[in-house]
């Protein structure tokens, strides 16, 4: 608690509604820290470790943006948000960007006045059932009880899917993922539905993961991505192109291990040179210094490295790249050229 704040609150009375809308980048630079909204804890995507350091797939995006702006991946204040507080935190300016596996939808982009800057994880809603239930397709779930987290898009997708297939279900509304798993394992519901990444992560923590299967149907598109406030396009550009830089880095073969070497002198690949600032002035165009992308990649690695470290096949969560592979490998990751 800042002393001036405490005493100011006591003296209070007039709260000058100043707020000259300076650019977010200027605010962030003046503060010396990026305020990045993350979840309060989701396996693989964002959680503090035993020493209180945040780690995870979404956290990587925050750190990359901080590295691009300040050259320092630790210049981030992580602001944990719940599903209910995340949008107000962003709209009110408490955070500069939100990287909290949030689905990019029409109304969030337009009506809520946010800008999704890209997609860092292509997810989709799936169903997990116990093997003993003997179900092999989600269309066989007629009359099933379904554990579902309230207040999320998954709830609406579920209703759409069952209505489209003309089958019925009984929802068991629950608040958190942890509660849902307890209910599911206790047999309070036949199936649990949420994003397939979440199902895989949860299944990995079961005592007997082999007794449960994730059904093949993916019933929704859940493009998860970082977002910023409407109206400050300069800041939106910085976040968008930092994310794109990580994706491009993988495509171009730049890793955290070789980025220093590749950026030391111009290479034979002009796109690498432009990205790493040894050729052209891309950094200046978005108000950062020439080494912005180099710093971001050096801090967290390219997209593939972030993926493998936090949620990849070698981690407990063990997600395959799937849709999240580069377009050259049959995935959906496709960044516009750095030119």
């Amino acid at each position: 608690m800042k002393k001036s704040v405490l005493l100011g609150a006591m003296t209070v009375a007039g709260l000058a509604a100043g707020a000259a809308a300076a650019g977010t980048l200027d605010d962030v630079k003046a503060r010396g820290k990026l305020n990045c909204g993350v979840t309060t804890g989701l396996v693989g995507f964002a959680a503090p470790d035993a020493n209180g350091n945040w780690d995870g797939f979404d956290v990587g995006v925050c750190r990359a943006v901080a590295a691009a702006v300040f050259g320092d991946p630790t210049a981030v204040e992580f602001v944990p948000t719940t599903g209910k507080t995340r949008f107000t935190a962003l709209a009110s300016g408490e955070i500069d960007m939100l990287a909290r596996n949030t689905t990019w939808t029409f109304s969030r982009d337009t009506d809520l006045k946010f800008d999704f800057v890209g997609v860092n994880y292509y997810d989709g809603q799936g169903f997990m059932v116990p093997k003993a239930l003997g179900v092999s397709s989600a269309k066989e779930l007629n009359g099933a009880t379904v554990c579902i987290q309230t207040g999320t898009t998954t709830e609406l997708n579920l209703a759409d899917f069952f209505r489209a297939n003309n089958i019925t279900y009984t929802p068991v509304p629950i608040e958190t993922n942890a509660e849902a798993l307890q209910q599911y394992l206790a047999g309070a519901c036949d199936t649990y539905t949420t994003d397939a990444s979440g199902l895989a992560a949860s299944r990995a923590t079961f005592e007997a993961p082999a007794d449960h299967i994730v059904l093949p149907e993916i019933i929704s598109k859940e493009p998860l991505g970082p977002l910023v406030r409407h109206g400050d396009n300069d800041w939106g550009d910085i976040v968008r192109w930092t994310l794109n830089a990580l994706i491009a880095a993988e495509e171009l073969g730049i890793t955290s291990a070789n980025v220093a070497e590749l950026s030391a002198a111009p290479t034979s690949n002009p796109e690498i040179n432009r990205l790493l600032g040894t050729e052209g002035e891309l950094g200046k165009m978005i108000g950062l210094d020439g080494a912005w992308a180099k710093n971001a990649i050096a801090a967290v690695g390219n997209y593939g490295e972030v993926f493998e470290k936090n949620i990849g096949s070698n981690t407990a969560i063990g997600l395959a790249r799937g849709l999240n592979a580069q377009w050259t490998d049959g995935g959906l990751l496709y960044t516009p050229p750095f030119r």
Binding site: G8, A9, P80
Partner: protein
């Protein structure tokens, strides 16, 4: 006279003998309490059976507990399918459960000291018969010391805050006797002036006897529950008394303000007020000015519980016979004296169970702050710890630990209140 007229006369007393074994000691106790009738005997045996059944299930889980692994999957490897708890999560994350994940580890001693001091500070109030009255000064100083210990920063901040309150009390004492309003508003003005001036001085010397500062955002764990619980309970009691008196006041405006406040606050769920504190206020305040979140939450919870306590105390006031009020009037006491010396001591005594009820409920309600992304004990468990790859899936151990901590505190409050009721009992039952 050698022939005895009676068949037998005892000439000396028999030595006392112990009662028959069925009428003494454990046997008697068992017979009276556990096996006094056939029905009770059946109940006793059934209860023992249930107890044994529960213990049989829980005991191996407790004793087989694993304390040293670094993830849930390692726990399962060690246990090899046997029943056993994975207490390793407590061993690894105990500090986060108690202090939150951002409170600097090297400073844990400070909130701990503040916690221990709490007992010393509370003792003169709680056991007012045992301790001399002048020790109350320790109690009065405690909030400022505790603030300094937990939040750190320059010592000038709590000192200025304390001076402001002292100044206000001084002005009120001096002028409040002649005219209540002059005293009250003069006191408030004096406090504001002192805070304003002192704030300038404190801002100018941020390093004067400064402890390392910790931001409110970094508070968490059971420490946050304790801060919210202690502060809000102790603030809501005086506010509750004022509201209760206000509601029974003859002055129309004061009465209606109190009625409106109480009815409004009681009609709104606490969780809504918390959302207002967290979310809605952020829209009204200019961006960048962060009105301290803990302060916002404290204000909301205090408002909430003082409305409830006010109604409890109003019940106590209503229970007093009218004669008590008339007796006070007939002695020539004014309103303040009558309340302080005659009415409130009796009304509060009647209200104790109700007040304790509210206090215990309030303390447990502090866990609701986890929905506005504050990391109290439950928020810590539900968010960061269950969200980590290593501990995702450990539920019983974590929530059992949380339940244990809350039980200890709430049971302590309840035991104290029963003791206090016995102390204050003046009738001859």
């Amino acid at each position: 006279m050698t022939r005895a007229t009676e068949a037998f006369v005892r000439h000396q007393m028999l030595p006392q003998v112990p009662p028959p074994s069925s009428q003494a000691g454990i046997v008697k106790w068992l017979r009276e309490n556990l096996f006094s009738s056939i029905g009770n005997s059946i109940m006793t045996i059934a209860s023992f059976f249930a107890l044994w059944w529960a213990l049989d299930a829980v005991w191996p889980w407790l004793t087989n507990g694993v304390w040293t692994t670094s993830s849930l999957s390692q726990c399962r490897e060690v246990l090899q399918g046997e029943v056993g708890a994975c207490f390793s999560v407590l061993a690894e994350r105990w500090n986060q459960l108690l202090f939150g994940f951002k409170y600097p580890a090297e400073l844990y001693g400070r909130p701990t000291a503040a916690f221990l001091l709490l007992f010393i500070a509370a003792a003169p109030v709680l056991f007012y018969k045992t301790f001399p009255r002048y020790l109350l000064i320790v109690t009065a100083a405690y909030p400022f010391i505790a603030f300094w210990f937990i939040w750190g920063g320059s010592i000038l901040v709590p000192i200025v805050a304390a001076l402001g309150i002292l100044g206000a009390m001084f002005v009120f004492k001096k002028y409040g006797n002649q005219n209540f309003a002059t005293g009250l508003f003069g006191g408030i003005a004096a406090a504001l002036v002192i805070w304003w001036l002192g704030g300038k001085i404190a801002d100018a010397m941020p390093n004067f006897l400064a402890l390392q500062e910790v931001a409110s955002r970094d508070m968490g764990g059971f420490m946050l529950n304790m801060i919210l619980g202690v502060v809000c309970v102790s603030l809501s009691l005086p506010f509750g008394i004022l509201l209760a008196l206000g509601r029974r006041s003859d002055m129309l405006i004061i009465k209606w303000i109190c009625v409106l406040f109480i009815e409004f606050i009681r009609g709104v769920p606490l969780i809504t007020l918390l959302f207002v504190a967290n979310v809605v206020l952020a829209y009204f305040l200019p961006p960048g000015t962060s009105f301290d979140l803990i302060l916002r939450v404290i204000i909301m919870i205090t408002m909430f519980s003082s409305a409830y306590i006010a109604e409890v105390i109003r019940g106590g006031l209503a229970a007093l016979p009218k004669g008590q009020y008339e007796a006070a009037d007939s002695l020539g006491l004014d309103y303040a004296q009558a309340m302080r010396l005659i009415i409130l001591p009796q009304a509060l005594k009647i209200s104790i169970p109700g007040i304790v009820n509210v206090a215990v409920g309030l303390f447990k309600d502090t866990t609701l702050v986890s929905v506005i992304s504050m990391f109290d004990l439950v928020g810590m468990i539900r968010g960061p710890i269950l969200g980590s790859t290593a501990w995702n899936g450990v539920y019983w151990e974590l929530f059992g630990f949380a339940a244990l901590l809350f039980f200890v505190v709430c049971y302590g409050i309840s035991q104290y209140s029963q003791w206090l009721e016995r102390q204050l009992r003046t009738d001859h039952r």
